[in-house]
Symmetry: C2
Subunit: 133 residues, 2 copies
């Protein structure tokens, strides 16, 4: 169970996630596969996404609204979501490692993963805001 078993649907899902530069949801991934003529059941899409996530080939993002999005970029980076239109931007700004260490000291937990959950207004929505008022 250690070796990577990239079945056809898993490989297809992986390709779609890697090629996307937005951060597609499971439903969007299914659509894009369908557009290529590859039709899989929801169960298969979700199974593949879990498999790929657990094997570290993709990242699952939970950006606040309860819908999982998937990211093929593995280098450490963070996301910022526009509260108005939902646009997602990426940034290389990262969390200093001593934060995890201090949290461990305070709580007794062993920290696994630290990610930032940032919301704001994207440039386009900032422009609109100033028009409105």
């Amino acid at each position: 169970m250690r070796a990577l078993n990239l079945t056809e649907p898993r490989r297809a899902v992986l390709e779609v996630v890697r090629q996307a530069h937005d951060h597609p949801t499971a439903a969007e991934i299914m659509e894009r596969l369908a557009a290529r003529g590859q039709r899989y059941a929801y169960a298969t899409i979700y199974n593949s996404l879990r498999y790929l996530t657990e094997h570290g080939l993709i990242r699952e993002l939970n950006l606040g609204n309860g819908i999982s999005r998937y990211d093929g970029r593995l280098e450490s980076h963070q996301h910022i979501v526009c509260v108005r239109c939902g646009a997602i931007a990426e940034t290389l700004v990262d969390v200093p490692p001593e934060i995890a260490r201090r949290m461990e000291g305070e709580t007794g937990y062993r920290v696994n993963q630290v990610s930032l959950h940032v919301t704001g207004l994207c440039p386009a929505c900032q422009a609109q805001e100033s028009v409105i008022r």
Copy 2:
């Protein structure tokens, strides 16, 4: 629409959230109200929670699994969730403010809110892990 209109269900929801020291979900809040003899429709619970959140009386937490939890503590603090049992701990460790500024510079967004999304293993689950292997 500026003044605070704390109707009976809103006040009741607020009390439950403030008294809780876990971070209850909407369903848990409804149960606890029912246990006190106060029965409200889901719509009312959710409306009240949104109202209280928008008016800054409580915080809505999205700790990764898509279920909203609510917190009556308003002082800035962060949460860490156990990946194994879901236990939530609080910590005062916070995100340095220059992180938000650097993100703004990188993305052009105007940052609203930065919160940490930390996962790990709670002390109890750490103990069990070492027993298992």
